[in-house]
């Protein structure tokens, strides 16, 4: 599980840097940085990020009530992926 978490974190960082912050190194991009409030990821960027997470990790992001909190930081995205894959998210948020 720890190896998967690191792998997801690395992949997420890689995607964010490649698409939104090309002048930043992985070490400089804090996992707890608020990506939305800091301006790293704008509104269109958020849609791209959600789409990428859905496609890469096979999560039905359009089915679950996705919250901006789920994508506010790398840590939050990683938790969202973990919870979605374990089925926790779907059960908790279905109305």
């Amino acid at each position: 599980m720890k190896r998967c978490n690191l792998s997801a974190e690395v992949e997420i960082k890689r995607f964010i840097i490649a698409n939104f912050a090309r002048d930043v190194t992985p070490d400089e991009l804090g996992s707890d940085l608020n990506l939305l409030d800091s301006g790293v990821v704008d509104s269109l960027g958020l849609l791209r990020l959600i789409a990428w997470v859905g496609d890469t990790y096979h999560i039905p992001v359009n089915d679950v009530n996705v919250s901006t909190d789920d994508f506010s930081s790398i840590d939050a995205i990683r938790s969202f992926i973990e919870e979605s894959r374990s089925g926790v998210l779907q059960n908790d948020r279905s109305s």
């Binding site: 939305l36 301006g39 509104s43 269109l44 958020l46 789409a51 009530n65 919250s67």
Partner: protein
């Protein structure tokens, strides 16, 4: 493709075409909303199509809703009424159905379903149309209330609406997590509506500004959660595009049939104008426009129903349909010649109406920008 029940739901609207279209040219001149026709639409149950039966809706899916709305566009010549109908369904009903609390649904969805309350949503601001994330209208928490302050513009249905979904800033300006959606009732102190705005087209669909001056709204009127407004709006916009532009497809189909009939009967220089390739080619382009738009919209809706990502598809669908609609409307005026230019034939009105589709729900430029962003540019 459509079953008997779906066809019956659509027939309930298309049978009313003449009634709904009554005096549409005359009302265009005065910008008068067709309240009588609205009541007839209410009677069909169309307004509650996509909403749960527990809330007095008809519990139909997106595709069925679109199929019926396409029928509305085909049969009703009052595009302003058509647009107001679509806006009513998506502006308040759709976000409440998906994100609203049980209390909000119970209190307001039945009224949306039967049309006894008319809905609108307030998004655009005087300084922020395409750039909605720069919105200035703010919502400050104060105990169990939020205090809203600011102004919105270009709000369809505002002069006649009873319920508004107001999108306001609750966080850092520019952040996608900074917007919250609030349900605000018309008689809430601090909310005022501007005078109806005169515009190029869709004149029978009332439009005005909205002003919020220390408007206190219960915390329980937050739709979804604080900060969820951007993603709620993204969901609503998908429905808005699919529902309002499938109406345009119905309108385009009707226009195409008119042009075919005219081209087959109008004789110039001893032969029907349809026999000249320069005319028939134009009508063929109209036909291609209808089919292409219809396919994009329904295919996108099917993907959305399968919970697939449709960010690109929605942008393309909107771009293709809105621009086909303008092209189709201009062609129709050309084919009818001088008659097409008169108000009596209703075709110049359709051309003026069609331009709005390249602006609302995200301009054509914004749709192109969105596609560019999604493909990594």
């Amino acid at each position: 493709m459509w079953n008997e029940d779906q066809r019956a739901l659509r027939a309930a609207i298309t049978e009313l075409g003449d009634v709904l279209s009554k005096d549409h040219v005359a009302r265009e001149g005065t910008g008068e909303f067709a309240f009588e026709a609205w009541d007839r639409i209410r009677d069909t149950g169309l307004l509650g199509l996509p909403f749960g039966t527990e809330w007095s809706g008809l519990g139909q899916d997106l595709l069925t809703t679109m199929y019926v709305l396409e029928g509305l566009g085909y049969s009703c010549r009052d595009s302003g009424l058509n647009f107001s109908t679509s806006t009513h369904i998506v502006s308040v009903g759709v976000p409440l159905q998906r994100f609203g609390s049980r209390t909000l649904k119970k209190r307001h969805l039945p009224k949306i379903c039967d049309g006894s309350a008319i809905g609108a949503h307030a998004i655009t601001e005087p300084d922020g149309g395409s750039d909605i994330m720069s919105m200035r209208t703010s919502a400050e928490p104060d105990g169990e209330k939020f205090v809203l302050h600011g102004s919105k513009t270009f709000i369809t249905n505002a002069p006649i609406a009873d319920l508004f979904v107001v999108y306001a800033r609750t966080g850092k300006r520019g952040s996608p997590a900074a917007i919250t959606a609030f349900l605000v009732e018309r008689d809430t102190p601090g909310l005022s509506i501007g005078n109806p705005m005169s515009k190029m087209g869709l004149r029978t669909s009332p439009l005005s500004e909205l002003f919020l001056d220390n408007c206190r709204v219960p915390r329980s009127n937050v739709i979804g959660s604080v900060g969820a407004g951007f993603l709620i709006l993204d969901h609503v916009m998908k429905w808005e595009i699919l529902c309002s532009f499938i109406i345009n497809v119905g309108e385009m189909q009707h226009r195409l049939e008119r042009c075919i009939d005219y081209a087959r009967t109008r004789v110039q220089f001893g032969q029907t104008i349809g026999s000249y390739q320069s005319v028939s080619n134009k009508i063929v382009e109209m036909k291609i426009g209808v089919e292409t738009s219809q396919k994009w919209l329904y295919d996108t809706a099917e993907k959305l129903q399968r919970h697939e990502n449709v960010t690109n598809d929605i942008a393309i669908s909107k771009l293709v349909t809105s621009e086909n609609n303008v092209s189709s409307a201009l062609t129709a005026v050309q084919i009818f010649g001088g008659y097409g230019y008169t108000t009596e034939y209703g075709l110049e009105k359709e051309l003026r109406n069609s331009v709005a589709g390249t602006i609302y729900s995200g301009t054509s430029d914004i749709q192109r920008q969105r596609i560019a962003s999604m493909i990594g540019l």
